[in-house]
């Protein structure tokens, strides 16, 4: 049993991991063929993963509805939303337009999906204001610097902000808000971002090596 549940999966992971890694750095015809077949397989598996995710989502929400757990009514909308898009998609054969007319899918996408996505994104604005205030409470020197940088960037990003800056500080001559904003983005922000990216990359490499060499085995489950 250990052979099937432990050693074979570890061996597959090791062989496929090493082959994929070396095919990235050794571009030969054979490695290209290997990556091509892996890509096809990945796409097939991803397609089935969609289906698996869908069933899992349905089971989870069906359980919520049958057990009448808190907020079970929202689970109904999972099915309503799913049917509202999938049934028209099947009926209209996946097409949004037939000639100049919108199909059911096209109507659903334009007037349901787009409108709801826009609403969700708009609601974020209120959270952003509340979060921004908490982040920019000037309680210390560091918070003051953060607020000043954010203020400059926000003003630099919109024409009205640039006009306000020009009216207030235009007399100083060389202090253009757009240039100051750009400097903030190009120098301190990029330095921080580079640090984060390098950290992430090193972390990614270490995790990948741990998985390839069987040190990290969480993907195999608990048994």
């Amino acid at each position: 049993m250990t052979l099937i549940k432990k050693h074979i999966p570890l061996a597959i992971c090791f062989i496929v991991g090493i082959l994929t890694l070396s095919s990235y750095y050794v571009p030969t015809q054979a490695s290209e063929k290997y990556v091509e077949s892996m890509n096809k397989w990945e796409n097939i598996v991803a397609g089935f993963a969609f289906l698996l995710g869908l069933f899992s989502l349905f089971f989870s929400h069906t359980r919520k509805i049958t057990r009448r757990v808190d907020g079970w009514g929202y689970s109904l909308f999972v099915f309503v939303g799913f049917l509202a898009m999938v049934v028209p998609a099947i009926v209209s054969n996946g097409k949004q337009m037939v000639g100049a007319d919108l199909t059911g899918l096209g109507w659903g996408y334009r007037f349901l999906f787009n409108a709801l996505s826009g609403t969700m994104f708009s609601v974020l604005a209120f959270y952003i204001v509340s979060t921004a205030y908490r982040a920019f409470r000037i309680k210390s020197l560091q918070a003051g610097v953060l607020f000043a940088a954010a203020l400059v960037l926000m003003l630099a990003k919109v024409p009205l902000g640039q006009m306000i800056w020009e009216t207030l500080f235009g007399w100083t001559g060389g202090w253009d808000i757009a240039q100051i904003g750009q400097w903030l983005m190009d120098v301190p922000a990029v330095a921080g971002k580079r640090g984060i990216m390098m950290g992430l990359a090193i972390g990614g490499i270490v995790t990948a090596l741990k998985i390839i060499f069987g040190i990290e085995r969480q993907y195999m489950g608990k048994d």
Binding site: N39, A125, V129, M154, V158, M185, D186
Partner: protein, 184 residues
């Protein structure tokens, strides 16, 4: 070649496909000047494959027509035969395009992202891994101004300006109130 790797954006691609012959580029002919590819579920696999033999993963367009037989695909085997790639996204897909396609296969690449994500791509711009970047609505408006085709990006600048000024105003007022309550 127009394609999406985001399942939720297939409708957007359809809208673009519908608008190209109407008002975006009425002189361009489908199949000769441009082609729209179907959605594929696994972004990394698609991006890697586009650098090798792209017909292994995209053999037909979204309507089921054979891609190899289209005039627009003449002489095209992979992204190395293309002059520029561009990713317009509100997700992190641009990172993947840079890592798996642009860098690996030496394809010139540009992007369009939300204003929030723009800062994250500045290192790529400085190293030349991205040839250009449109950041948020202002970036879109700047681009519209550049190509002299003012549209939604330019139209949205008023609202964007007012929203920014409102946020700044609210933060300043809230800080003044905090100082008032604390020290006065």
């Amino acid at each position: 070649m127009i394609l999406t790797l985001n399942a939720g954006a297939t409708g957007l691609i359809d809208e673009i496909g519908e608008r190209i012959p109407k008002d975006i580029a009425p002189t361009k002919k489908y199949g000769t000047d441009y082609v729209i590819l179907p959605y594929q579920p696994n972004p990394v696999a698609v991006m890697t494959q586009l650098g090798m033999d792209m017909y292994q993963i995209y053999d037909k367009d979204r309507d089921g027509a054979l891609l190899r037989e289209m005039p627009v695909m003449k002489g095209i085997r992979n992204v190395k035969d293309m002059q520029l790639g561009m990713c317009i996204t509100g997700t992190a897909l641009l990172d993947y395009w840079v890592a798996y396609t642009a860098d690996k296969f030496k394809m010139p690449f540009a992007g369009g992202t939300t204003a929030v994500s723009q800062i994250g791509y500045a290192p790529y711009l400085q190293t030349g891994q991205l040839k250009g970047l449109m950041g948020g609505m202002k970036g879109a408006a700047d681009y519209e101004l550049l190509i002299d085709a003012k549209e939604k990006g330019t139209a949205g600048l008023d609202a964007l300006s007012l929203a920014h000024i409102m946020v700044i105003g609210l933060i300043v007022v809230a800080n003044i109130m905090m100082f008032w309550l604390k020290y006065l």
